[in-house]
């Protein structure tokens, strides 16, 4: 297992270096002068220009610049926002809980519906239910989620007036964040109605963000289950006269879930890409919207830092998924 871990880590380091090179190169590839871009100032005087050049280190050779940059990152310095003048890492940490809360709720919803739906479709293969479930899953998989979000807003916020259009909680409530998770913080605040307000703000974004992972998980569960159900040991279990539910639940499901776990783990990247759109539609103050806003505000140091932080996080999650996969499927470890 240790060898497996080291092997995976060995693969991760070059990837991280590559990712950091992309983030490093980003500012330098943008059209225009990087110093003017980073300083966010129009018409810098020659004196100030040289001063800034020294501050950002642009007067040094490019290789030295890169290693300085890498050194800063390893010390936790991801740059400073041009617009807010706050450290990028600090902004990321403030906004990340909002994305995390939304993503966790979405993945719970996707798993809670996707796995049973996939099992059911596989067990009743070819039936009307199977075809309907797989049909709906394919529609979900093909969904432009930004449009799906707008449709839900029209129906639930516009016509039915059940849910708010945007934000994380009603402006009526105010409390200091403790965990950063609105669901927990609103309960801790003890204010009547705060929790309900947080939930009603969370429902639509969760549904929108969960749509594609839900479809993927349902399809993957079904095909994994079908594969396992045709295995010899399942036939043996059946011929022994075990109850069908026991065969499906105990013998088949446990083995079918192995690839499903990987699929769920791999949805993290999908979730973050989805968060960019979902958060933009619902004005959800998370890192997805933060990145889009920064691109538009030309706050390039935020884009640079955010790129690296997000990619780093996805790589970490993928590592954990690989390790979990190795744990539950010893064949992989060799």
């Amino acid at each position: 297992m240790l060898r497996f871990l080291l092997q995976k880590l060995g693969l991760l380091i070059p990837t991280f270096i590559g990712v950091s090179i992309i983030a490093f190169a980003f500012i330098r590839l943008l059209p225009g002068d990087p110093i003017t871009l980073l300083a966010g100032e129009r018409g810098v005087s020659a004196e100030r220009y040289e001063q800034l050049q020294a501050t950002y280190g642009f007067d040094k050779p490019i290789v030295v610049q890169y290693f300085d940059y890498l050194g800063n990152i390893l010390q936790g310095d991801f740059g400073t926002s041009i617009v807010t003048k706050r450290p990028v890492l600090e902004e990321f940490m403030t906004l990340f809980p909002a994305t995390l809360e939304l993503s966790i709720c979405a993945i719970i919803l996707a798993t809670a519906i996707g796995i049973p739906a996939g099992i059911f479709a596989a067990v009743r293969r070819g039936s009307f239910f199977d075809q309907s479930i797989m049909g709906v899953a394919l529609v979900g998989y093909s969904m432009p989620i930004f449009w799906w979000g707008l449709l839900l807003i029209i129906l639930f916020s516009g016509i039915l007036q059940w849910t708010p259009v945007s934000g994380r909680i009603s402006l009526l409530y105010f409390f200091q964040p403790v965990t950063g998770f609105m669901l927990i913080d609103s309960l801790l605040s003890g204010q009547a109605g705060a929790f309900k307000s947080a939930v009603s703000h969370l429902i639509l974004p969760t549904v929108v963000l969960a749509t594609i992972p839900l479809a993927v998980i349902a399809r993957q569960t079904r095909s994994a289950m079908l594969e396992v159900l045709s295995e010899d040991y399942v036939r043996t279990a059946r011929s022994k006269g075990l109850a069908p539910m026991r065969v499906i639940g105990l013998h088949a499901l446990r083995n079918a879930l192995i690839p499903v776990v990987t699929t769920i783990g791999l949805q993290v990247g999908v979730l973050l890409a989805g968060a960019i759109l979902t958060e933009t539609i619902f004005s959800w103050p998370g890192i997805g919207k933060w990145m889009v806003d920064s691109v538009f505000k030309r706050d390039y140091s935020v884009v640079q830092g955010g790129l690296l932080l997000i990619a780093g996080m996805i790589m970490l999650v993928n590592l954990v998924v690989d390790l979990v996969y190795g744990l539950i499927n010893p064949r992989i470890r060799r």
Binding site: L11, P14, T15, G18, V19, I21, I22, F26, L29, L30, P31, G135, L138, V139, Y141, S142, M143, P144, F146, W147, W148, L150, L151, I153, I154, S157, G158, S230, G269, V270, L272, A273, I276, L277, T280, M291, V292, V295, F296, V303, L307, I310, A311, I314, M315
Partner: protein, 309 residues
């Protein structure tokens, strides 16, 4: 001497006789399995209709997609109160006919899908062939670069690339192609590695085939099945991602009747005029769904493991 060469020639003739029909046989076998899948056939029909609509857009569209009618702002679809049969699906905020814009939008979406897939696939296959065939450090370097691209959420990377290249449809397509291309590299490389030690490849090399012949003529045709399936998936992904970039204001720029861009323009009217938002998204969904249905059918028809069941 003459005897052997004669035998070889006869063998070759015999081979051509059997291979020729086998190729045709494979195609009809593919069609047999593909047409067994009802969803795939429906997908193919819908996709064909979208293609026809795109090709004949100027003939079908009732109005010019970019002409604004000042007397008809936000006219609802014809079946609603206040609707006008001249504007079947209503008009947008500046009085343009939505149906005509959707019809012309089909051209953009199909072009985006085609452009992105051709670019991503040709680059991906070339790089994948090199990685799988060369092995060693070349392979390692290529695959680490692909890992780096895959470490970013695809839409975020595309968004940032467009920020570098400048907003616009062409740049958006190039960015999306770059983001989708690692999948082709990985697939090609995996197939090449599985095939390169097979007997037919070795015998071809022994017979004196050069590297390029081995890569492109001997090995590549035997790796095509998963690549074709991936191409269909990428086609729909390209349409979705381009629409998403358009929606974020980074793809095709107004007044282009691209479906995602139309949605972006319609956002502020969602609570007043549902039709401005509903139809462009529906067009994206139907097109992408049709392509994905076809993709599922192709996968089933090309995957020999699934054929038995």
């Amino acid at each position: 001497m003459t005897d052997t060469s004669q035998i070889v020639e006869e063998d070759l003739e015999h081979l051509e006789e059997t291979v020729g029909p086998a190729r045709r046989g494979r195609l009809s076998e593919f069609w047999y399995y593909f047409s067994q899948n009802k969803g795939a056939v429906i997908g193919l029909v819908v996709f064909t209709i979208v293609v026809l609509v795109a090709v004949f857009a100027p003939l079908i569209a009732p109005h010019n997609p970019s002409i604004q009618n000042r007397d008809a702002f936000l006219v609802p679809p014809f079946w609603m109160e206040g609707g006008n049969s001249a504007y079947v699906l209503g008009t947008d905020a500046v009085g343009r006919d939505i149906l005509s814009r959707l019809i012309f939008g089909a051209r953009f979406s199909l072009f985006i899908g085609l452009f992105v897939v051709v670019l991503a696939m040709s680059v991906g296959i070339l790089v994948g062939l090199i990685a799988g065939y060369a092995r060693g450090w070349v392979d390692t370097v290529i695959m680490r670069i692909m890992d780096v691209i895959l470490a970013f959420p695809s839409l975020l990377l595309a968004l940032v690339l467009v920020a570098i290249l400048g907003p616009g449809l062409l740049n958006a397509m190039v960015a999306i192609a770059l983001v989708l291309q690692p999948h082709f590299v990985r697939l090609t490389r995996a197939s090449v590695m599985a095939e390169r030690t097979r007997e037919y490849v070795i015998s071809s090399r022994v017979a004196g085939a050069g590297v390029f012949r081995l890569m492109f003529i001997t090995i590549l045709p035997n790796c095509m099945a998963p690549l074709i399936v991936q191409a269909t998936l990428s086609f729909s992904n390209a349409i979705l991602d381009a629409a998403a970039l358009g929606f974020l204001g980074m793809g095709a720029q107004p007044p282009t009747p691209e479906w995602g861009t139309m949605l972006a323009e319609a956002r502020e009217f969602i609570l007043r005029a549902w039709w401005v938002v509903t139809f462009p998204g529906l067009a994206i969904l139907v097109t992408v769904l049709a392509i994905n249905l076809m993709g599922d059918g192709m996968r089933d028809a090309l995957d020999p493991r699934l054929k038995k069941s």
